[in-house]
């Protein structure tokens, strides 16, 4: 193995990793936000709206991310949606993650005991206040492990963004490989970066979990 090429490609790889983290972070945040909205609409929306949401979830979950990205990036201009690679990638990640996040939130909300919602209704709290003060805090806590888990899965979906020329880590690694034929080194670097990212996320996730469940666990 020859690691000297890292001197030449190091900065580009770091920049690529930076873009990977950025894409992952924004894609996750936007995807979660969209997923949360979907889950709330499912809970409080009309039957008609629920049907539309169900179709959306089935379509997005039922097709590969790669295909969705192609449709968005290359098919978008046909209907006047012309996006640069990075925004297209972010939008793609957001859409791709949203139904999974929505399902996680939906089951998190279902985990909130109905009696605690009824107790809020019984003292005359409005539904928006119940969502804000009871359903969200408790639902989010019970969703947390699954949210962290899916966020980790999403890190690895970002490599697909290289296909539409988003200059993230995979893109840089491929460039380095084809220019130097150092495939093994390049992909080891890729693996190392991802391992570090995933490790960091799961540590933060565990810490967050301990923090938010601190008061919820019975200690006798």
């Amino acid at each position: 193995m020859d690691w000297s090429i890292l001197q030449q490609y190091g900065p580009a790889l770091l920049k690529g990793f930076g873009n990977t983290v950025l894409c992952w972070l924004l894609g996750t945040v936007f995807g979660m936000a969209l997923g949360l909205v979907i889950a709330l609409l499912q809970r409080y929306g009309s039957r008609w709206l629920n049907w539309i949401i169900q179709v959306y979830i089935e379509v997005i979950r039922g097709t590969p991310f790669l295909v969705q990205l192609f449709v968005l990036y290359y098919g978008g201009p046909l209907i006047g949606l012309r996006l640069d690679a990075l925004p297209a990638g972010l939008l793609g990640l957001t859409i791709y993650g949203s139904p999974y996040f929505a399902e996680i939130f939906r089951s998190g909300f279902r985990g909130v005991p109905h009696g605690q919602i009824e107790a809020a209704r019984a003292i005359g709290m409005s539904e928006p206040a119940i969502v804000r003060r009871i359903l969200l805090p408790l639902g989010l806590v019970s969703s947390l492990p699954a949210l962290v888990n899916f966020s980790i899965i999403l890190t690895k979906e970002t490599v697909i963004l290289s296909i539409i020329t988003v200059p993230e880590l995979m893109y840089q690694v491929q460039r380095m490989s084809t220019e130097t034929f150092r495939y093994v080194e390049a992909n080891l670097v890729l693996a190392l970066f991802f391992w570090a990212l995933v490790e960091a996320i799961s540590r933060v996730g565990r810490r967050l979990e301990t923090h938010v469940t601190k008061h919820l666990i019975e200690r006798t």
């Binding site: 009824e118 003292i123 919820l216």
Partner: protein, 257 residues
């Protein structure tokens, strides 16, 4: 002395799918009186109680609190959410499973309704919450989360949460059924105090001792029907109806050893 509500229940029916849970139930509860609802499980007593604050929607008939129809503006026409919330503000409810919000401390549980529903400032609400918790004997547990409280303490916080809203009517849905036997007394004592203050109370219970000593009236329900309402002594000690006799016989057999 607290202001107390009257409750009039007229010809109330409720179905769960094909199951007829309440059958033409009539019951009048006078202001400041304590009414216990007893009967075998599945008899509809909890369902009836939950219809009083419209957590459960009744299909037909009328339930009036201080003369005001709850849940409907007119027969068949549902009341707006806003009107329903206004009516619920003066009805407190205590559940079998306590239903405290686990992410809030005891004091925050009590203050929540005061802040969100009564529009009090946080400091005012916390002061009021502290008073209510002191009243139920939990002055030293205000900053505990529910997970750090015993069942009896949790239920007393739940009672404090309800009375802090200054209700004119209190509904209790088997408040001691989920408690270990040694914790039942502390909850019943708080309820006795409330009864002594002249609040209207409707209590679904299996605590016949409480019914005998505290209730002004006891109603016996079976299979969705209100079989009989009378003073505790006549229901519990000299029942005429065979169904009540049989229910009490089972009860005594279970509690004698």
């Amino acid at each position: 002395m607290l202001a107390a509500s009257s409750v009039e229940i007229r010809k109330v029916n409720k179905h769960f799918g094909p199951f007829h849970a309440l059958k033409d139930v009539d019951l009048v509860i006078e202001p400041g009186k304590v009414n216990c609802l007893i009967g075998p499980s599945g008899s509809g007593k909890s369902t009836l109680l939950r219809c009083i604050n419209f957590l459960e929607e009744y299909d037909s008939g009328e339930i009036r609190i201080d003369g005001q129809l709850i849940g409907y503006e007119a027969p068949g026409k549902k009341m707006s959410g806003r009107r329903l919330r206004e009516m619920r503000r003066s009805i407190g409810m205590v559940f079998q499973q306590f239903n405290l919000w686990p992410h809030m401390t005891a004091r925050e549980n009590v203050a929540e309704g005061l802040i969100r529903v009564r529009g009090m400032s946080k400091s005012e609400a916390h002061e009021r919450a502290a008073e209510a918790l002191t009243k139920v004997g939990l002055a030293d547990r205000m900053t505990n989360h529910p997970a750090r409280l015993s069942g009896g303490q949790q239920q007393r916080v739940a009672i404090a949460r309800a009375i802090a809203m200054e209700p004119r009517l209190m509904l209790f849905d088997e408040p001691t059924s989920a408690l270990d036997p040694e914790l039942v007394g502390e909850v019943l004592n708080v309820m006795k105090t409330l009864a002594g203050e002249g609040m209207t109370m409707v209590v679904v219970t299996h605590e016949m001792g409480f019914a005998a000593h505290v209730a002004d009236k006891v109603a016996f329900m079976e299979k969705g029907e209100l079989v009989s309402v009378d003073i505790p002594d006549r229901i519990l000690h000299h029942p005429e109806d065979a169904r009540i006799q049989s229910f009490l016989r089972t009860y005594h057999e279970r509690n004698n050893f």
